[in-house]
């Protein structure tokens, strides 16, 4: 990894193993002696938090799978049986369902951290792209996992999302039927979603491995956005960041426990306690909260754009909203990483966060309702405006700002920033 290894085998058996499989060396160089910028703040703890939540989801999920029945007649009941009759099943199920939400909260904060501190810029483009891949896999996994309890929202959410594929020209219908394994969401769909929902977390774990590898080549970014220049800029990962990450992880688990034990259903939807019924459509079909911003973007395109009809336009915009993150490293033309030294762009970023949250709000509401009761101001219009800003931030603001903005003066080095040359 970065720099020569400083590992010295402490015993005969470690030396023997080190000559054959230097796995202890790998662990030592990656997580003990790894040089880490000394100025990382708490926004840098979400990587560790995410690793913990991936493990929580995998372990609780494996236990749930031992009791779950992927059959359209029994799936709903089997999940209820888990919470009623399996010893501590109520706990495992609550951890898994709420764990998904906490996983997404952490990943969003991790991504906003990356956007604010320019973590996607050279030489960390591949690291960023792998992160977007993980996020996409999480979206797919979360979506399919929500289908498994086979409640009304599971079923109708799956119906709405899979129907989006039907909007694609020429291949849409065939693709949708191929995904369903039939002519509607049904037994075949449930069974394959269970299979994929079990598979994808391990794919995520593998890509996380690559993500950490790609992190350990250039090393961590940091709040001032300067590269590590000397030994004085860094601290060994252990004990400095193991203890700092550890503290953040425990605090995050504390908040998680409040939901698991005291508010286990508050992040879910009441309709999902009604078994899936193909003949009864819920009054409002809403996805889980972590998809709401993209749901709002999907619904914001209500007009045809040339040969692209509104439905396909919405689907393209929704996927484009994530797709654009892949090319972000080349859209931001500024050499300055951290928004701390970008006085104008910083405000555009803050409004970007507001826009993302606002889109989530629009996604939860009926597009024809009025925002805060203001006559004529439909959620649709707010959603359209925020969708416009979402894309403008990446396509117009970031490329332009790199050219016209005059960054603030930056400290000479991380060490100088820390030692209080008052530039940070």
């Amino acid at each position: 990894m970065s720099g020569p290894s400083t590992y010295k085998p402490g015993s005969g058996i470690e030396k023997w193993l080190d000559d054959r499989l230097p796995i202890i060396r790998l662990g030592y160089d990656s997580f003990v002696d790894f040089p880490t910028p000394r100025n990382l703040n708490y926004w840098w703890t979400f990587g560790g938090i995410l690793a913990v939540f991936l493990m929580i989801q995998i372990i609780s999920g494996i236990v749930l799978a031992m009791h779950y029945v992927a059959h359209e007649d029994y799936a709903f009941e089997s999940v209820q049986r888990i919470t009623r009759d399996v010893p501590f099943g109520w706990l495992i199920q609550s951890m898994h369902a709420n764990g998904a939400s906490f996983f997404f909260v952490a990943v969003y904060l991790h991504m906003f951290r990356g956007l604010y501190y320019g973590s996607y810029k050279a030489p960390r483009e591949v690291l960023w792209i792998l992160g977007v891949v993980i996020y996409l896999l999480m979206m797919a996994t979360g979506f399919m996992g929500y289908v498994l309890p086979w409640g009304q929202m599971s079923y109708w959410g799956a119906m709405v999302i899979t129907n989006l594929l039907g909007a694609l020209p020429f291949i849409g219908d065939a693709l949708r039927e191929w995904l369903w394994g039939g002519f509607s969401v049904g037994q075949a769909t449930l069974n394959r979603f269970f299979s994929l929902h079990y598979l994808l977390p391990f794919v995520i774990a593998a890509v996380v491995g690559l993500h950490i590898w790609a992190l350990h080549v250039p090393g961590n970014g940091n709040p001032v956005g300067l590269e590590v220049k000397s030994k004085k800029d860094t601290l060994p990962f252990h004990p400095y960041y193991t203890v700092k990450d550890g503290f953040a992880i425990i605090v995050y688990l504390l908040i998680f426990a409040v939901f698991v034990f005291f508010l286990p259903t508050v992040l879910g939807h009441a309709d999902n306690y009604i078994e899936a019924n193909a003949l009864v459509t819920p009054a409002h079909i809403v996805p889980e909260w972590y998809y709401l911003p993209f749901y709002a973007i999907l619904r914001a395109i209500t007009f045809d754009i040339g040969p692209i009809d509104a439905k396909l336009g919405g689907v393209l915009a929704m996927f484009g909203a994530i797709g654009i993150l892949f090319v972000l490293p080349w859209l931001d033309t500024s050499k300055v990483r951290s928004m701390r030294y970008r006085p104008l762009t910083r405000w555009f970023f803050i409004f970007f966060v507001v826009a993302a949250l606002g889109l989530g709000w629009c996604g939860a509401k009926n597009p024809d309702d009025f925002v805060m009761g203001i006559e004529g101001f439909k959620f649709l219009y707010l959603g359209q405006f925020l969708t416009f800003y979402y894309f403008a931030y990446f396509i117009v603001i970031l490329p332009l700002m790199g050219i016209i903005e005059k960054p603030k003066e930056r400290p000479a080095s991380i060490e100088a920033a820390v030692l209080g040359s008052d530039k940070a």
Binding site: R81, R84, V243, V258, A270, L292, V418
Partner: protein, 269 residues
């Protein structure tokens, strides 16, 4: 730091985004009622759950199933007839007696040596008997409406207990401008304000075993408490464990924070 505050506000906003439920047209927001099981330390009022079971059994069960319930649930920890004497609810005499009061074919696959289905008294492991064999039969007996299963009804409606309580106590004379179809009743707490269920509770339709006066409000509160327990039978255990877990994590967090201060004490950052 400015960004910290912005993110904090952002997380708070996320919390609100998903929760607000819209009420359509004529539907009234549910009444605010205090529940014994509310709050982080709230527990079920056992006597209310017992009375509520009596209401379910004598009133609701003639139309509504509770497919997820087994008789043994009544005697398990936190249940209405739980007893310290009988750790295993299958041995609980009250539960055995309730189950045995129903005689029927419990399982068509349970056959005698001639291959005929066996009719026998219920056991604690048997499910609450359903009033109708299937949805079509239920609809045919209820003017086309399908009485929903009540196992999870409190969880399956937004505003949970308050909604159920409001619905049960919310039958009024229809306003003159409403156009109720025959067989429908006016209830402004129900979506659309027209419900096929006749007012199920009336003053004194039941004689409580414990002598409590059976007002409509009392019965509505009791049966809602019972349904709330039925939908979330491990709530008390969950909350008790939650308190211990939070105390544990809090102490752990403090210790790790002190370790953090110690480790970083002489490092500029």
């Amino acid at each position: 730091m400015k960004m910290t505050r912005i993110f904090a506000a952002a997380i708070a906003a996320l919390g609100f985004a998903g929760t607000a439920a819209a009420f359509e047209g004529d539907q009234h927001p549910p009444k605010e009622h205090h529940w014994h099981q509310d709050g982080p330390f709230g527990t079920y009022d056992t006597s209310a759950v017992q009375r509520g079971y009596q209401i379910y059994q004598e009133v609701c069960a003639s139309c509504h199933s509770m497919d997820l319930m087994r008789f043994r649930n009544l005697g398990q920890q936190g249940g209405p007839f739980a007893s310290d004497e009988f750790d295993n609810p299958n041995d609980n005499p009250i539960v055995m007696q309730i189950a045995a009061s129903y005689t029927r074919v419990w399982d068509i696959d349970e056959v005698n040596d001639d291959g005929d289905p066996v009719e026998r008294p219920g056991l604690p492991s048997d499910a609450f008997p359903a009033p109708f064999a299937n949805e079509q039969m239920a609809r045919a007996s209820n003017g086309g409406a399908y009485p929903p299963d009540l196992s999870l009804i409190v969880k399956a409606r937004s505003h949970g207990e308050n909604y159920i309580y409001s619905l049960l106590t919310g039958y009024y004379d229809a306003p003159e401008d409403s156009h109720l179809s025959p067989g429908m009743y006016y209830n402004p707490y129900f979506p659309g304000a027209a419900i096929a269920m006749a007012p199920p509770l009336a003053e004194g339709i039941i004689e409580y075993a414990d002598g409590t006066e059976a007002t409509v409000e009392q019965m509505a509160e009791d049966v809602t408490t019972f349904l709330s327990w039925a939908g979330d039978p491990h709530m008390e255990k969950r909350k008790q464990m939650g308190v211990m877990v939070l105390i544990y994590l809090l102490i752990f967090a403090i210790l790790v924070y002190l370790a953090y201060r110690q480790v970083w004490a002489n490092v500029k950052h």
